[in-house]
């Protein structure tokens, strides 16, 4: 990809902020690792060699009977019986962490939550599930939720802000009053009411938080458009006969982009916090989902097992710090007041 000069300068300035630059790489590698969660933490083996044939249990469901077992259902690779069947005529390649986020370790030395050991590196939660596996999956779902929410709320927010700022007058006044009323809605209560009607899943939660969270960028974009619509070059474009939509998105939006892009990492951080707090309160993702908020809640309920709270806190805190550091570097990169 070839960047134009301005973007090259920006990338340069972004790199000049060493903390933000390394944060970006660290965050990206953590995110990529978590995207590959199925390969890293899985109770199904990655590869099975059985009777000179290869099987990929983490991708494909194989019935136990295929390995000479008795049941027609999917093989349980954690079962000693199945393991023996396979190792007799082949071998098993396990994932580095042989637990998925739902896997219950029945074979714990102490009652759950059990402390860190060489099997469960960060111990297990109160249902005997591996904390590391839940952190990896929880990190992934948090970041994905944050990204989706940031993406959609930016699109809606920018469009709403652009229309209000560009047309001004009555549209602006009505829009602003609507936003004031709308942002006063008690989101949490609506979620509680809603969760008594439907079982909120990922998309439900995304939809609802989006419904009440798209206002973040409206203010800044609206302000930029209010300013921008009186610029001489906007008048000049109108004098050329350019249409409203084209003026909004080609001529004014690029000016609002700097302010918006600067906000994005912080919106992302905020979105992740929203999901975590909903999960913490028990109004978030369905029971059993891997979630940092739920782990925090468990930590609070099991103060005798500090590895729960500490791990969840550590992951959440470092994720948010990384995002803030990246945000600072992005702000530096887009700051027009820094000389070129």
């Amino acid at each position: 990809m070839k960047l134009n000069r301005l973007n090259q300068e920006r990338w340069h300035k972004f790199k000049a902020n060493r903390r933000g630059y390394w944060s970006l790489w660290l965050f990206l590698s953590l995110f990529i690792v978590s995207l590959l969660a199925e390969v890293i933490a899985n109770d199904k083996p990655l590869l099975v060699r059985f009777q000179s044939e290869f099987y990929f249990p983490f991708l494909v469901e194989y019935a136990e009977t295929e390995f000479g077992g008795e049941f027609e259902m999917e093989a349980d690779y954690r079962d000693e019986f199945v393991r023996e069947l396979i190792t007799e005529k082949g071998w098993i390649l396990e994932a580095p962490i042989p637990f998925s986020y739902t896997t219950i370790n029945h074979d714990l030395p102490s009652p759950a939550p059990s402390p860190p050991s060489d099997v469960n590196w960060l111990g297990t939660d109160d249902k005997g599930r591996d904390v590391v596996a839940r952190l990896i999956y929880g990190f992934r779902i948090s970041v994905l939720f944050g990204l989706f929410l940031t993406f959609f709320s930016s699109i809606i927010g920018i469009a709403a802000g652009a229309v209000q700022g560009y047309y001004g007058g009555r549209i602006d006044i009505l829009g602003q009053r609507f936003i004031e009323v709308w942002s006063g809605m008690p989101t949490l209560f609506l979620l509680i009411i809603l969760s008594s009607v439907v079982q909120p899943n990922f998309w439900w939660l995304l939809g609802i938080t989006l419904l009440f969270g798209w206002m973040a960028l409206v203010g800044v974009v609206r302000a930029e458009f209010l300013r921008g619509r009186n610029f001489a070059y906007v008048l000049a474009a109108k004098a050329l006969g350019v249409g409203d939509r084209q003026i909004m998105f080609r001529h004014i939006l690029p000016n609002a982009m700097v302010a918006s892009v600067t906000f994005l990492p912080f919106i992302l951080g905020g979105s992740i916090t929203t999901l975590t707090s909903l999960d913490f309160l028990g109004f978030g993702l369905p029971v059993g989902s891997p979630s940092l908020g739920e782990l925090l809640a468990q930590g609070k309920a099991n103060l005798q097992a500090p590895w729960l709270g500490i791990s969840a806190f550590f992951i959440l805190a470092s994720m948010l710090s990384l995002l803030v550091f990246i945000g600072e570097a992005v702000r530096d990169a887009f700051d027009p007041r820094k000389s070129y």
């Binding site: 001004g168 009186n230 008048l235 000049a236 109108k238 050329l240 350019v242 080609r250």
Partner: protein, 334 residues
């Protein structure tokens, strides 16, 4: 004087809603723009020159500014009655405009080439990309920009003020408009660049045969550029004449005052320059009668009661003053 009239502005009244009420920034302004000729509109700041041009383009700041009455006829087509879609087709295509500040009239985030392409693409969507590129380069070359093939990939901040004004002119001329409205195009430029830009506009006019509405407060520029002149004062036409006529025989006391204020080379050095005493009346608190009354050396009681109509002196010379005949006699006796 047989040039056909291309654009006819008739009794234009433009008002603005402000906090203290409604102000009439332009009142009863009429003039004709003849095909291939240059009409100058001259007057001091706030006299309604720019508002007149924005009224023609229908680009008055919304929602405070609006045209109250009048007609703006382009070939019998009343621009004020056109739906927005139709008006958009006229802008840039038949009437184009260049602005005072070349520094701000170009979008800083787009390359020069893209901004020229926008104009071409808008009104000639059938043109291929290669043809548009070729045409853009040709336009830049025509307005005297060296190495246009490279300039096309540069951003406005990489160009000097004069270069940017040339680019503005290139964009305005991209669709070969019949009328070019130039709203103080040289005010922000230094004098040598100003002379170059004026020269360029004249040669482009000669080549394409377009009409120009030239708005300025610089009488020197008017003398250089225009065929006919409208002198505006506080939103009204004070005097309207052929350029030679106006400079030789100014009939309105305001025009006379302006002419007298121009420093002359024969004047002894360190002499105090002549000025018109007083200030322009506030548009929110206009006196009844003539708007120039408080600064006029020729004022009579009648000026305070009735607004003088625009009277015809002779063909192509109109003046709005009760005492123009006396003033004329005085001028001629000198």
């Amino acid at each position: 004087m047989t040039d056909p009239v291309l654009l006819k502005v008739k009794n234009l009244v433009t008002a603005f809603d402000v906090e203290s009420g409604v102000i009439h920034a332009v009142e009863n302004v009429s003039f004709d723009v003849k095909s291939g000729k240059t009409l100058g509109i001259v007057g001091e700041s706030g006299c309604g020159k720019s508002v007149t041009s924005l009224s023609i383009m229908r680009l008055l700041p919304k929602p405070s500014g609006y045209v109250v009455s009048g007609e703006i006829l382009l070939d019998k087509l009343d621009l004020l009655k056109l739906p927005p879609q139709e008006m958009r087709k006229i802008r840039g295509n038949r009437i184009s405009m260049i602005f005072q500040e070349p520094m701000t009239a170009l979008n800083p985030v787009h390359r020069i080439g893209k901004q020229i392409r926008e104009a071409l693409h808008l009104h000639h969507s059938e043109m291929s990309d290669a043809l548009i590129l070729q045409e853009s380069v040709a336009l830049l070359r025509k307005v005297g920009i060296p190495a246009p093939e490279q300039r096309i990939n540069e951003y406005p901040h990489q160009l000097s003020g004069g270069m940017r004004q040339r680019v503005m002119i290139a964009i305005a001329l991209a669709c070969r408009p019949e009328i070019l409205i130039a709203d103080e195009p040289t005010t922000a430029l230094d004098v040598t660049i100003q002379a170059q830009i004026l020269e360029l506009m004249k040669s482009l006019q000669k080549e394409s045969g377009m009409s120009i509405i030239f708005i300025t407060h610089d009488l020197g520029v008017i003398a250089e550029m225009c065929d006919e002149v409208v002198v505006m004062y506080a939103g009204k036409v004070a005097e309207k004449a052929n350029v030679l006529d106006l400079f030789k025989f100014p009939r309105h006391p305001y025009t006379k005052g302006l002419m007298a204020s121009i420093p002359n080379l024969d004047m002894p050095p360190k002499e105090k320059l002549q000025t018109i005493e007083g200030v322009v009346p506030e548009l929110t608190a206009l006196p009844p009668g003539c708007r120039f009354q408080n600064r006029c050396v020729f004022q009579i009681p009648r000026c305070h009661a009735i607004s003088p109509p625009l009277e015809q002196v002779h063909e192509n010379h109109f003046v709005s003053c009760f005492r123009w005949q006396e003033i004329e006699a005085k001028t001629n006796s000198h």
